[in-house]
Amino acid sequence: MRIGTLLIGLLGLSALGLAADASAHMTINGAGATFPYPIYSKWFDEYAKVDPSVRFNYQSIGSGGGQKQILAQTVDFGASDGPMSDDNLSKAPGKLIHIPTVAGAVVISYNLPGNPSLKLDGETIAGIYLGNIKKWNDAKITALNSGTTLPDQDIVVVHRSDGSGTSFIFTDYLSKVSADWKSKVGSNTSVSWPTGIGGKGNEGVSGQVKQTEGAIGYVELIYAIQNKMPYAELKNADGNFVKPTLESVTAAMSTAQIPDDFRFSMTNATGAQSYPIAGATWLLVYEQQKDAAKGKKLVEFLKWALSKGEDMAKQLDYAPLPDELRDRVLKRVDEIKL
């Protein structure tokens, strides 16, 4: 009967798919931040060559998603650039460890004809994102950019529509430099944005800014570089205008006070060369792994990432952890129970 042959055909297809990759792999699933997605995906790709018996499947759904999925235990590790709040940590079914991996810069990217290079400061950015500064040729912006002519165009503000650690870093910075922002909006992975349109993930925001003339958005440095989008120099706490680079992010991280649980903020850092909107990103793993085999592979990967992986970070303009912080983190990784 034809229905019979059809069904057999379908079963055959699924068997084919299942057999398509002959050797048996273990898959370890993770989800979370889009901020470090470029470096993580590079790590997972390289690590597959180091240890072909395991594959890391990472879905970049935003830090909020990463926190949620690891709390619900639907993934083996989470990733977030906003440290988990005490409230959320208490909800976890086991003790969750924050493992910092790299630090990066959140840059202010924009889409203007001629791709001029702009200088901005905290107050101005807060004004734009609060909806007070509406046009590109507003006095506050032109005051900082005397050499450039800015068009009489509406500013299209782009922010994250999903729960985002990048948003956390950005709003954390804005709360420090603008009392207005702190009282009206505050800092979190997801806030009530006073104005603008939402993009999903760092990818969505950069995509939106790239497509829309007059747009401004905050994204991780590598997204702006890979997509050849211009980004602004920012005035740091010391009063200098700094470009977001590997060096300025490292400078910011060196001034940070890092507690034992590794949750820290490094926005608006002091230091002549520090870039003001920088942040670290963490992998979230349970201290007590529920699957011993997976846990072992995960720990091996973490150790590799914190040694070999860190060298690759520089190529993508992420700042690796300073040596003594790295040693502290490796010690903590040893504490993971299988």
Binding site: I3, L10, H25, Y37
Partner: protein, 283 residues
């Protein structure tokens, strides 16, 4: 006087006819536009790599979507395992047994179910499977798609079975063949082409669904060979790539879209070929 009014009415009639023609053109215009762009933007990226390579790390150029294509196939196979038996047998009941009122109710409910947004199926299966087993999985994705297929297949199966002349049933029973054998070997066999058509249509409909897979199948950048793990799917991959900022990913999204559309149209063409001469409701 009379001639004047006739002319005015004739003009109005001609105007209305023109507007209707213009409307028909406007309705198929988007089809032309979408196809044009699919071909122009997609065909350049369809190369051997696309069909054989896995995605590359973020930001790097190249790679393919082979895992997404096969993943979609696996999900459809899983969906069929659930959707086809339940749908076909349910349709048999509606056509061969039951009383008028209950069948009318069942038909009504099936039609209403067909109108449920596909994302709701994703939400339901998330609560049912993903949360319970604490894992995104191909099974969950397949289940979501399969549940969507049930009312579709049930209605189309019922419609084609009703078209089989009663004489066949009567003749078979008169020969002493039991009821269930009559239904399976005589009625269903006669209508088998129509039943397959209905199944194919359900496939075409479900193959392009993205929303129910967002939080069930979840997506995977590598091969998956464990049904309890997340799996890549073509529509999911297209969505992820489309909303990203990378030019290369956009290119691949168009290519993936072209492949998906060709797949669906192929199924629809087969359906049209099988049912030539008869009218089949596609929606």
């Amino acid at each position: 006087m009379k001639a004047h009014r006739h002319t005015r009415r004739k003009i109005i009639s001609a105007l209305a006819s023109t507007l209707a023609t213009v409307a028909a053109l406007l309705v198929i215009a988007p089809l032309g536009l979408v196809f044009y762009h699919l071909l122009v933007s997609g065909i350049g990226s369809i190369n051997w790599d696309f069909f054989t390579h896995l995605p590359k790390p973020v930001g790097e150029v190249g790679g393919g979507m082979v895992n997404a294509i096969v993943g979609s196939g696996e999900l459809l196979a899983l969906a069929a395992l659930i959707g086809v038996p339940v749908g076909v047998l349910g349709g048999v009941y509606l056509a061969e047994y039951g009383d008028v009122r209950m069948n009318a109710l069942l038909r009504f409910v099936a039609d209403v179910l067909n109108g449920v947004p596909s994302i709701i199926w994703g939400v339901v299966v998330y609560g049912l499977i993903v949360l319970r087993f604490k894992s995104f999985s191909a099974l969950a994705g397949g289940l979501a798609l399969g549940l969507m297929m049930i009312p579709l297949i049930m209605r189309t199966t019922e419609e084609v079975l009703l078209l089989v002349p009663n004489g066949y049933r009567e003749a078979s029973l008169a020969l002493g063949i039991s009821r269930w054998k009559t239904i399976v070997h005589v009625v269903m066999k006669t209508a088998s082409q129509g039943i397959i058509t209905g199944i194919l249509l359900a496939f075409a409909r479900v193959a392009g669904e993205t929303a129910p897979l967002l939080f069930t199948a979840f997506g995977n950048r590598f091969w998956n060979h464990n049904l309890l793990e997340p799996i890549a799917a073509l529509p999911l991959q297209i969505f992820t790539y489309a909303i990203s900022p990378y030019e290369d990913w956009h290119r691949q999204a168009w290519a993936g879209a072209l492949v998906l559309v060709v797949m669906i149209f192929l199924i629809n063409t087969v359906v049209r070929f099988l049912t030539r001469g008869r009218t089949v409701r596609v929606l």
